[in-house]
């Protein structure tokens, strides 16, 4: 005999998951040119959060471009779809209670606005990693600027590809005056100030 399926009314909510993790989930969105320092600063922030016992996660080109979005190229249309999917995926990470960190060039204002629109006020924190093009090109960690100069890559952001800087980001991080750890500290302090995380919490790291 088949028993009836009981529909459960109590579903674990975002706030349940957030209070389990003792933090307010949010999306920390880094935008900036290739080589501006997004992933490095994101890594330093993630480390700082982890050491404080917070539950975070980073998404960047390394784990998204060759996975979820491996079917997408660098046309403007594909860049838009890239950011749309990342935004939707981030919404679920935030729903799961995590302090979610995204580090993508995300060159278009409208795309970033659409990601912001998926979140409640205060949940989306746009951080402009402001680094002069000349500095990014000098660093050129992946050799992409050289390729773009040689014409081997087209529509490369900052060169022949458009970058629209944020008009009113929650934070501007100036890598010309601070090192990555200092940049991460400023963001950490922002999260504290806005009570997304709390100071002096007891670490939830297992003692075993």
């Amino acid at each position: 005999m088949t028993k009836n399926i009981t529909i459960h009314t109590h579903k674990i909510s975002k706030s349940d998951r957030a209070s389990q993790k003792n933090q307010r989930p949010c999306l920390v969105w880094f935008t900036g040119l290739s080589g501006s320092g997004k992933s490095t600063i994101a890594g330093a922030l993630d480390e700082r959060l982890f050491e404080g016992g917070y539950h975070g996660y980073i998404m960047d080109g390394d784990n998204v471009r060759y996975g979820l979005n491996k079917d997408l190229g660098l046309s403007n249309e594909d860049r838009r779809e890239n950011i749309r999917r990342i935004g939707e995926m981030s919404r679920l990470f935030v729903d799961a209670g995590l302090i979610t960190i995204c580090a993508f060039i995300s060159p278009f204002t409208e795309d970033r606005r659409q990601v912001r629109a998926l979140f409640k006020a205060g949940e989306f924190i746009e951080i402009y990693i402001k680094t002069p093009l000349a500095v990014c090109e000098k660093r050129d960690p992946k050799g992409l600027y050289k390729k773009a100069r040689r014409g081997e890559i087209t529509n490369f952001t900052g060169m022949d590809g458009i970058y629209e800087p944020p008009q009113s980001p929650e934070l501007v991080v100036d890598t010309a005056t601070m090192n990555p750890d200092e940049c991460a500290q400023i963001i950490f302090d922002y999260l504290l100030r806005h009570e997304l995380i709390t100071a002096n919490r007891i670490s939830s790291l297992p003692s075993a």
Copy 2:
């Protein structure tokens, strides 16, 4: 003066995140017909995990079909892309340390195999929610079987759409002999037995 970017060698790893959460992250993948009870059982399992202080998250049609995959329809090609994206997204949730629960019809063996291939041995737990078509059609929680009978939906799994049952799933859950809570308990016991979670752990729920 622009300071040099220091590349951090310590990156928070999957095992760091897992030990923070005191669990072994994995993907619990439910497959079965529409109306078989996947989401209900997933909800009961998630609740059980949460009560035990574990960090889990459910993905199902409700939070994926109208978000990340809202550009996809019900053609076989779109169903494949639907499952591919969910698999890639789940890989990041597992990387983030979570016990990730997916509840999707996922009718094709090959698609489920491709998701499995993204994970290490023991991390992907395929669970066949086995419910006779006649029972699913009688339940018809979303009225989809009625629509399919009237020809308003085509390629509907179990009717004119193919469903390939798993040949060697980690678990078969027979909803004809158990209610959803009993089904969830069997899965919970599987996770315990395989040491993905541990018995008698102290709840990590905040005491405040």
